[in-house]
């Protein structure tokens, strides 16, 4: 829900909301100009004590993260170098969301330096940052925006002061632009020429200047291309798998035929060790690791290994048994149905995979007295602590480097692969570059668990008077740092009672945007031991999809148009504004052929508001269209996404996140799921797990970014998924005349032949030259 507490824009550009906190600035002891910024007075976080029924409205998950980050956010530093560039090692991970580009824009803006002269790298795990090195919850922009800009502004101030000293001039008369300080008399000095003179031999506190006001911005708020785009299109961007660490040879793992199975015995170690290229074999917690000269030879070895496996953690579970467990655990609806004036609905969402395209991988070099790890990690401190404990090393003997990830979608919140690489390296006594296979990623990797959402809404005298939603899910693992945040901030949270981590996160991320009278949304979890975790937007896609389908049913029951009905009941001006804009731009109410329909979904989270309007084509000609070896089905032909992000730091990047969210949603609504059978997903490749591909993506996506409604950015990386899923589901219901109750809609049909469970990684094909084009 969008908050109303946000302070109005300040004309002087001083931080608002969260930024009411004061900052401490330091000139750091360094050979070149280095500015550190530390926040203090953390108790002045922008969350007030709640008095409203739904906590998310006044204190959301991002606020939790901000509150936890406050005491340590300051230990960040912007440096200016003699070559005229500035650099910053971000305490966040880049996985495609555009964090590094946005941070570079913040620094360029406040420093008056061209964007191309700002370098943003990823900081190693820094245990002293405690809980302020977690990339998740769409929180990075919200928590970084003010501290990073403040550091850059201090750096600019120091450069000006240094030039003023050299020129014996009044600093107030000097100007900065494009990395140059200029004086009224024509004097000019580049930042590079001042960087060394501006440095300090001791660390001293410095005054904190005013930040620019949005009206002064020339970079922030303007569309900018990604700073790593050139490296990407030339193949130079280095991902974990591309790094070269001496002697870190390719390593893969033969895995059990059920989730989290164990190794009882390896029956042909000597024969596999004799295979070409194979150097080492080691039994690790959940498989047999093989190190070889190439990954191809690791795959060969996996074909040959004969292993006796022990039981996994969910061997007796299949889709049907999990669903039965969820149904048994559903919390009761407390308001009795008023018969003819009730909408009662229940929805099921299948397991889904948060696997990115880059398979999980990590490099580990574990020695007797130290260890070094490279991996794409969104919570590197937790990874460092856990790996050090596992290896029996002190934390200060373990270095964890954060590597850019080829996507994350929640997967990199956990360090499973880094821990495996460390275990394998320790047991082999050699460095390893360990990669999961694609099949490992789907079958043994983290999942968004199956859940049900039961909704009941009662109507009396033409008004919706109650709305109850009972969300029941296989438990989601939050053991990656958010749990520690909740523990550390428990006394400040607006949720009462002894809630679990998951319940707390649910309550901090969910709220109904409608005036539906008595409203309750509750979570219950079933403790099955699947490998789960957050997937982009966590609970919201499922909760909002169920909600919006029910809203459409309520509208129909009351003989109202879906958009008109929403206008009547929405209780937030920003949500109403994006809905109205979407209806206008997306041409709501357009006459479409039979079998096609529009659908709309609205949502508010991360202090943003968003509406999606889609058109879906469910005509037989489209549903049955033939693409070789493709799952086709209904096609979303057009999508309009209207977003109010508070302040849009980089509209081009924001648009990209909305488009990605829409493609995720299309997959979740129509095609993508995991089928659990006897303790393991059947899916093993992207031709089994039908993530959206070109033949299912809309030909027409339009993203409208509303004029800024705040000086502060909201979260955006996950925002688009929930309302898009809802819109697609509502459109499908209207096009077919049947409200879908099980997602994705094709889950009941297994559209592929599963790979065998052993070998756990299938052999690569050999017909690549037959399929050239």
């Amino acid at each position: 829900m969008v908050p109303h507490r946000r302070s109005p824009d300040d004309s002087d550009g001083q931080p608002t909301g969260l930024g009411r906190r004061r900052f401490l600035g330091y000139l750091l002891a360094a050979p070149t100009l280095a500015i550190g910024v530390q926040l203090f007075d953390p108790q002045s976080a922008d969350a007030s004590i709640p008095t409203l029924p739904q906590p998310e409205e006044i204190f959301d998950l991002g606020d939790l993260q901000n509150l936890a980050a406050a005491p340590t956010a300051g230990l960040i530093s912007v440096q200016v170098h003699p070559d005229g560039t500035a650099s910053f090692a971000a305490h966040r991970c880049e996985v495609g969301q555009g964090m590094t580009t946005a941070v570079a824009m913040m620094i360029a803006e406040e420093l008056d330096l061209p964007l191309a002269k700002v370098t943003v790298t990823l900081a190693d795990a820094r245990p002293e940052l405690l809980m302020n090195q977690l990339t998740g919850g769409s929180n990075s922009m919200r928590s970084i925006y003010l501290p990073v800009r403040t550091a850059a502004a201090i750096a600019r101030q120091q450069l000006v002061a240094t030039a003023a000293r050299q020129w014996n001039a009044d600093p107030a008369t000097l100007r900065t632009a494009n990395g140059v300080v200029t004086a009224p008399n024509g004097g000019a000095a580049t930042y590079g020429s001042l960087a060394t003179a501006a440095a300090s031999s001791t660390t001293v506190a410095v005054a904190v200047p005013a930040l620019k006001s949005p009206s002064q911005f020339t970079i922030l708020g303007t569309p900018q291309n990604r700073i790593d785009a050139h490296d990407i299109v030339t193949g130079r961007k280095t991902f974990g798998m591309d790094m070269r660490v001496p002697n870190a040879l390719p390593t893969m793992v033969a895995r059990p035929p059920t989730i989290n199975g164990t190794v009882v015995a390896v029956n042909n170690t000597a024969a596999v060790l004799a295979m070409p290229g194979v150097t080492d074999i080691a039994v690790i917690s959940h498989g047999v690791a093989v190190r070889a000269q190439t990954f191809g030879q690791c795959i060969d070895a996996i074909q040959a290994l004969r292993v006796t496996w022990g039981a996994g953690t969910v061997d007796n579970q299949s889709d049907a048994s999990v669903l039965a467990a969820l149904k048994a655990a559903e919390l009761p609806l407390v308001v009795p149905p008023l018969l003819t004036q009730t909408v009662d609905a229940e929805f099921t969402f299948a397991f889904a995979s948060n696997a990115p395209l880059e398979p999980d991988n990590a490099i580990a070099d574990v020695r007797s007295d130290r260890a070094e790890i490279w991996s794409s990690l969104k919570v590197p401190i937790v990874a460092l602590e856990a790996i050090a404990a596992m290896l029996g090393l002190p934390q200060n003997a373990v270095t964890v480097h954060v590597v850019p990830g080829g996507g994350s979608f929640g997967r990199h919140l956990f360090h499973d692969v880094a821990a495996e690489a460390a275990e394998a390296s320790q047991k082999m006594g050699k460095p390893v570059k360990l990669s999961w296979s694609r099949t490992d990623d789907f079958r043994q990797g983290r999942t968004h668990p199956m859940c049900t959402s039961r909704v009941r809404a009662n109507v009396l005298l033409g008004n919706v008077i109650t709305y109850e939603q009972r969300h029941t899910s296989v438990q989601t693992d939050f053991g990656h740092g958010l749990g520690e945040m909740i523990t550390a901030t428990a006394a400040s949270l607006p949720v009462a009672g002894n809630l679990s981590f998951a319940e707390t996160i649910f309550e901090l991320s969910q709220s109904s945007p409608y005036n539906f009278g008595v409203t309750t949304q509750l979570l219950n979890e079933v403790p099955l031991k699947f490998n789960t975790g957050s997937m982009r937007n966590i609970y919201s896609p499922n909760v909002v999809c169920a909600q919006e389908l029910v809203v459409d049913r309520l509208a129909a029951m009351m003989h109202q148009d879906p958009v008109a009905f929403r206008r009547q009941y929405l209780r937030d001006a920003r949500v109403l504004a994006v809905l109205n804009k979407a209806a206008e731009v997306g041409n709501w109410g357009a006459t479409l052929p039979k079998g096609m329909a529009q659908g709309v979904g609205v949502h508010a989270e991360y202090q943003a508001a968003i509406a999606c309007l889609v058109e879906i084509d469910c005509t037989p000609a489209t549903v049955n269209r033939q693409i070789p070896n493709a799952v086709t089905g209904p096609r979303v032909t057009k999508a309009t996404i209207v977003v109010d992000p508070g302040f849009a730091i980089n509209p081009r990047g924001l648009e990209a996140q909305m488009m990605g969210g829409m493609n995720d949603a299309i997959a979740l609504a129509l095609t993508s799921s995991l089928h659990i059978q006897h303790g393991i997903p059947l899916e093993g490749s992207w031709d089994n797990y039908f993530y959206t591909r070109q033949w299912n993506t809309p030909l027409d996506i339009q993203v409208v970014i509303m004029p800024n409604t705040s000086t502060s950015p909201s979260g955006a990386g996950e925002l688009g998924v929930a309302p898009s899923l809802a819109a697609v589901a509502c459109a499908y219901a209207r096009a077919t005349g049947t409200m879908p109750t099980s997602f994705p809609i094709n889950h009941g049909t297994l559209g592929f032949t599963p790979f065998p469970l052993e070998p756990s990684t299938p052999q690569s094909p050999t017909d690549g030259l037959v399929n050239t084009f």
Binding site: V95, G96, G98, N225, R226, D228, A229, I232, V233, T234, G235, R236, K237, M241, D242, P250, G277, Q293, T294, F295, G296, Q297, A355, P356, L357, E358, P359, P404, G405, G406, G407, S437, R438, I627, A656, M659, G660, G661, N663, S685, W686, D687, Y691, T692, R693, Q694, T697, P698, L699, T761, P762, S764, P765, T766, D767, G768, L769, N771, T772, F773
Partner: protein, 158 residues
């Protein structure tokens, strides 16, 4: 273990490895050419898409023994040289549209796009939405819309 000679990005190379090792691992693990990405090793995700004698293919599914001494392999690293520029027009179109998010699939997407445009040109026509629908490369970030836009723009300058 046997010797395999072929040309990659304009340079003749000889590698000693087993016949069955797929070309992707020869490129990545032996030659250190990492533009072609590993996304599945199953000829499905297409992240490793490169060119053999100007045609798109997936080196994850070609044993190195199938590569002939006369074969010319081009990876994303060698694409600009095929047009004698610092960037191929398709790469420039990718920059102009700011296509990439995480970037992992994009080398393969660009190589597939160049081949697809050439393929339809050989058929005497320009690229259509139906042609674009046939491109199988997965983008898990969901950049498909900008990919389509970039391919159409890049084709104009090819």
């Amino acid at each position: 273990m046997s010797s395999h000679t072929f040309t990659v990005n304009g340079t003749q190379v000889t590698v000693d490895t087993d016949d069955s090792v797929r070309l992707l691992w020869v490129l990545r693990d032996i030659l250190g050419i990492t533009g072609p990405k590993y996304g599945c090793g199953l000829e499905v995700c297409k992240a490793c898409t490169s060119h053999i004698n100007g045609k798109a293919f997936n080196p994850c599914s070609v044993p190195v023994s199938q590569i002939q001494p006369t074969d010319e392999i081009t990876t994303i690293e060698g694409l600009p040289a095929t047009v004698g520029k610092d960037l191929h027009p398709m790469q420039q179109a990718w920059l102009d549209a700011d296509v990439a998010q995480c970037g992992y699939c994009q080398p393969g997407q660009i190589m597939a796009a160049v081949a697809k445009v050439k393929q339809v040109r050989a058929e005497g026509r320009e690229i259509t939405d139906d042609d674009l629908d046939q491109i199988r490369n997965i983008c898990r970030c969901g950049t498909y819309t900008r990919i389509r836009e970039a391919i159409k723009a890049g084709a104009q300058n090819m």
